[in-house]
């Protein structure tokens, strides 16, 4: 484990901001004349990045969108060159940054295997030798002479993945491959990762999926605002990463007083959930709301709505509708506990809570709380309630 596969030393990357770019010769000339007036504006994508990856390690890179993690991966793959600093790579590196590099929709599946194979560094002879295996693994035996543009996206990904698993590399760079494809494909991906881990390959894995991080990564770095925020084992970093999202929620709660209103007869003292994040195995989430009344009220109405990232009211509950009669006396505190089954797709959800009586709102809080859901199947549908499918032969 002491042999270093990748070492990155004080790496910086800056991008020239696009509006500075002289795309015409005229721009070049006027640019020369006005050179003194221009101060070149740059955007810092990565600042002082230092880390080492040892041979045989499964190394995770996590971070929010735009934090710089993809730029880092592209520098490791020598697609971008660093502005300063040093990147050393020991051994053959294959970028998995995107599946199906070089795939041409106008060519047949067969031709694309050869083309993509060449991109991965396989000669024609080598591809010929493993052609049957590739096709079998992709389960596309009958489709190889069809043009790629006629493939379904699932077939496309299967072929691409089948190719990618052939690459003979010491170091693999994987960028959120799992975000695409159906459950079956993802199962294949996970199996492949397990195999990589067993074979002691060095893997650099960029993802949002904390579930996968915990399962596969030995060590993880968290990138935030172009810098390495944290380096450590998978549990520590994924904990911090999830917290990062929830910290945002707390701040938004404090900042946005306009998201809270009502006449104040009853106030919401606290809103809690038993979990801030849910994964596949979590069956439910418990929502606890503590309220306190300043006057005697009968027939209090408690309502909550769960909205998804796009603001769609996904589900909710209204105590009137379930005949849950709430009577509350002056200065009395009541705890309301709702159990919501985990039928959520992957994403961040927020809770809006309303307490009302006599058609008047006592207190309403929008975005009172947020929770994050991680699912293997990503976000194919709005919700994922258990659905069964029965298959039987029809009688003639």
């Amino acid at each position: 484990m002491d042999e270093v596969a990748i070492s990155v030393k004080s790496l910086n990357k800056e991008f020239l901001l696009p509006h500075e770019k002289n795309n015409t010769v005229k721009g070049l000339f006027t640019g020369i004349l006005k050179r003194n007036k221009f101060t070149k504006e740059t955007q810092k994508a990565l600042i002082d990045i230092n880390f080492k990856v040892y041979k045989g390690e499964f190394f995770g890179i996590v971070g929010r969108n735009g934090s710089g993690k993809s730029t880092l991966l592209k520098i490791l793959a020598s697609i971008y060159s660093p502005s300063s600093g040093e990147v050393k790579v020991e051994g053959k590196l294959v970028p998995f940054i995107e599946l199906g590099v070089g795939f041409n929709p106008e060519l047949s599946g067969r031709d694309n295997v050869y083309l993509n194979g060449a991109m991965l560094g396989f000669s024609n002879k080598e591809i010929e030798a493993m052609y049957d295996d590739i096709v079998r693994f992709a389960e596309l035996e009958d489709f190889m002479d069809q043009k790629l543009k006629n493939y379904s996206s699932g077939m496309y990904v299967r072929l691409a993945f089948s190719m990618a698993t052939r690459s003979k590399a010491d170091i693999l760079l994987v960028d959120e491959v799992l975000a695409v494809g159906d459950a079956e494909f993802q199962r294949k991906c996970y199996n492949y990762f397990k195999k990589l881990k067993k074979d002691k390959k060095t893997v650099i894995f960029v993802t949002h999926d904390m579930h996968a991080v915990k399962e596969y990564c030995d060590r993880v770095i968290l990138i935030e605002d172009s810098r390495i925020e944290l380096e450590g084992n998978a549990n520590v970093v994924s904990e911090a990463y999830t917290k990062m999202f929830n910290e945002d929620d707390i701040t938004s709660d404090i900042q946005t007083t306009e998201k809270k209103w009502g006449d104040g007869r009853v106030v919401i003292e606290s809103v809690m959930t038993d979990k801030k994040k849910l994964v596949d195995d979590d069956g439910e989430i418990r929502l606890t709301t503590k309220i306190k009344s300043k006057v005697d009220i009968t027939n209090l109405r408690y309502e909550f709505v769960v909205t998804d990232g796009e603001g769609i009211n996904l589900l909710g509950l209204n105590s009137d509708l379930i005949d849950g009669k709430i009577d509350i006396q002056k200065n009395q505190s009541v705890i309301l506990e709702a159990v919501i089954p985990n039928i959520f797709s992957e994403g961040v959800y927020s809770l809006n809570i309303t307490i009302s009586a006599d058609e008047k709102i006592c207190e309403q809080r929008n975005d009172a709380l947020k929770f994050t859901v991680f699912k293997k199947n990503g976000k194919q549908f709005l919700t994922t309630p258990p659905i069964t499918l029965k298959i039987s032969n029809a009688k003639k």
Binding site: F15, K21, N22, N23, T24, V25, K26, L28, K74, A77, S78, I79, Y80, S81, P95, I97, E98, V101, G102, N104, E106, L107, D111, Y114, L115, G117, A118, M119, G121, F122, S123, N124
Partner: protein, 269 residues
């Protein structure tokens, strides 16, 4: 030594082969006659040119075997244009690929040039047919064409390196090159015999590596009457080497420029 080189350029060679192959597959896709078109197209074109220039315009009556003389000039010029104009936008067009994987960028230019070279070879087959019907004899010295084509190849590739790298930064390059190619087409003795040029101007034009190789090729393949650089400068070594010096200078500058800018292609395209 050979093995080391082979290992180092293994990836480039694999990629180059596949890109050229793909280019050919795509070019004639969906056509009934397929690859046959790469022979038929120049054949029909040549027949038209032959009719226009020898039967109607009668430009080259003074030159023996003028049809072959004409066609040879055209295919060499076309090779140069196909390589350079095809290369100008090639780096930018491959932008998607550049952003996904790191590979030697020069392979893109070489693949365009190799495709053009294969076309040139096919055109020579058609030329051979015309030579046969025109009564031009085939001789051993015809093989002297190979170094000349090599010279033209190096020149075309060098120009392509420069143009394609410059195009990444300045999109004007393709328009400027279009105009230059048009200008070059009429300045270079392609459609008209070299003898139609005033001597002083001819001495200037022949210094261009393209004119020089075209005239040289005509002398070797078609007729002794084709004026070459050696005739004009009475075999003065200094003047005769100018086209080669041009090729070498353009090659060095282009390669340095391409090498330097290729590091940032992925970000800039």
């Amino acid at each position: 030594m050979y093995k080391k080189l082979k290992l180092r350029y293994r990836y480039s060679v694999i990629l180059l082969k596949e890109l050229v192959r793909t280019d050919f597959k795509l070019r004639y896709q969906g056509s009934v006659l397929g690859y046959l078109w790469s022979l038929l197209r120049p054949l029909f074109l040549f027949v038209i040119l032959y009719l226009v220039f020898t039967k109607f315009l009668k430009v080259g009556d003074s030159v023996p075997h003028y049809p072959v003389y004409l066609l040879l000039g055209i295919i060499l010029w076309n090779f140069f244009v196909e390589t350079t104009s095809g290369s100008v936008a090639s780096i930018v067009n491959k932008g998607e690929l550049l952003r996904k994987i790191n590979f030697p960028k020069y392979v893109i230019i070489l693949s365009v040039a190799l495709s053009a070279l294969i076309n040139l070879f096919l055109n020579f087959i058609v030329i051979a047919i015309f030579m046969y019907f025109n009564g031009v004899s085939f001789r051993l010295q015809d093989f002297l064409l190979i170094p000349l084509i090599f010279e033209l190849f190096v020149f075309a590739v060098s120009c392509s390196f420069f143009l394609s790298a410059a195009f990444v930064k300045f999109r004007d390059v393709s328009y400027i090159w279009d105009v230059l190619v048009q200008l070059g087409f009429y300045l270079t003795p392609i459609l008209y015999p070299f003898s139609k040029l005033p001597i002083g101007f001819g001495k200037f034009i022949i210094l261009s590596p393209i004119s020089q190789t075209i005239q040289e090729s005509r002398r070797i393949l078609v007729t002794n009457q084709a004026t070459t650089i050696g005739d004009l400068f009475k075999n003065n070594y200094l003047y005769c080497s100018i086209p080669f010096i041009i090729v070498i200078i353009v090659a060095i500058i282009s390669m340095i420029y391409f090498r330097r800018s290729s590091k940032n292609f992925a970000e800039e395209v």
